[in-house]
């Protein structure tokens, strides 16, 4: 799963999809995850990085990650 190459995420968390013209504001953790996706990390690795950095249990993280990825898919931000 990878973020589309031309999706831009700015420093302040503003995300622009140049293919659809949609724009979004994301929180700092979402921005971090988006940057990992852009780097090409797989979900397992991203989960591990988040677990290392934040106080969160794996079940909660996986549930939220799944929701977030679905949202990205729905908004055509991921490569199919």
């Amino acid at each position: 799963m990878k973020l589309k190459r031309n999706v831009a995420v700015s420093e302040n968390g503003f995300l622009f999809n140049p293919e659809t013209g949609d724009s979004f504001i994301v929180n700092p953790i979402a921005k971090e995850i988006l940057n990992y996706l852009k780097e090409g990390y797989d979900i397992e690795k991203i989960n591990q990085l988040i677990l290392d950095r934040y106080e969160v249990d794996l079940v909660t993280l996986e549930k939220n990650m799944e929701d977030f990825l679905k949202m990205l898919q729905h908004n055509e931000l991921l490569d199919r």
């Binding site: 140049p18 659809t20 013209g21």
Partner: protein, 348 residues
Amino acid sequence: MEKPKFNIAVTGLNNTDNPGPGIPVIRGLKESKDFDVRIIGLAYENLEPGIYMRDLVDKTYQIPYPSSGKEAVLERIEYINSKENLDFIIPNLDAELYTFIQSKEKLEKMGIRTFLPTMQQFEERHKANLNEYGEKYGIKVPLSKSITSRRDIDELKEDFEYPLLVKGKFYDAYLAYTPEQVNTHFNKISAKWGLPVIIQEFIRGTEVNVIALGDGQGNTVGAVPMRKQYITDKGKAWGGVTIKDEKMLDLTRSLLKQTKWRGGMELELIKTNQNEYFLIEINPRIPAWVYLAVAAGQNLPEALIKLAFGMDVPNYLEYEVGKMFIRYSFDLIGDIAQFGSLSVTGEM
């Protein structure tokens, strides 16, 4: 080398909340590095804001509405030409295009050039002909049907599902959920724009638009896709952003190649959630958001003049994605004497 200077007449100075393309076209022309322009505004009403924008419009003349007949319009243009020595006219409103396309040769005899679609190109893309157009050029279009009487409304259920769109032949579109609503919109639209009224299948999705310029030989000089970000209650874009959409560009280039489109145009498309594109309308002229294309790197009004005068025409392949426009309202200050001059003499 000295730059050529062209006297260019431009219509569509109605820079209101339902804006004509005149002012943004002029902004593009004024930014040309390869030629200078003197702009002659052609206005229908005394309060078209562009008339009072003296930094953009050098002189304005009133012209008769196209409904007054071709001869009346040409007579007025002849007079204006005797004063201004016009090189080129850019008609920017749908309703006047028929007159100007038909008058191409007469205008040329006066020494005035145009760069417009042919009558065949203009006629075949009418909303009423959209089904045939889609079939001929291999583009998906929503099912459309022209109706001329209220009696036709009852029969719509055989071909259409509700909601559906009720459209005027030039402007206006309303969504109708019941035959009663179709009836109301039919009466309103036919009173304003005449018959036929067009019934169109409603396609769910996002409205996206492309501005393009064809050289009349099948080549696309430039094309920029845009997504509306803010739409007024009249359905006009008040804000928009350029997007990167190769499918839209391919569709545009293919259409211009097949039709050998001559001049500016705007394609109005609906992109569905399944990433299908439906062509809902072709505007046979430069749209009012043209300055976004100029700002994104494609000065299409300038290229139009270059095409017409045989100058080197750029082949625009790139544009800046994520370039945005936002319209605003602004109180221009004029003097009643200006309004008076236009009212009494028809020029200012």
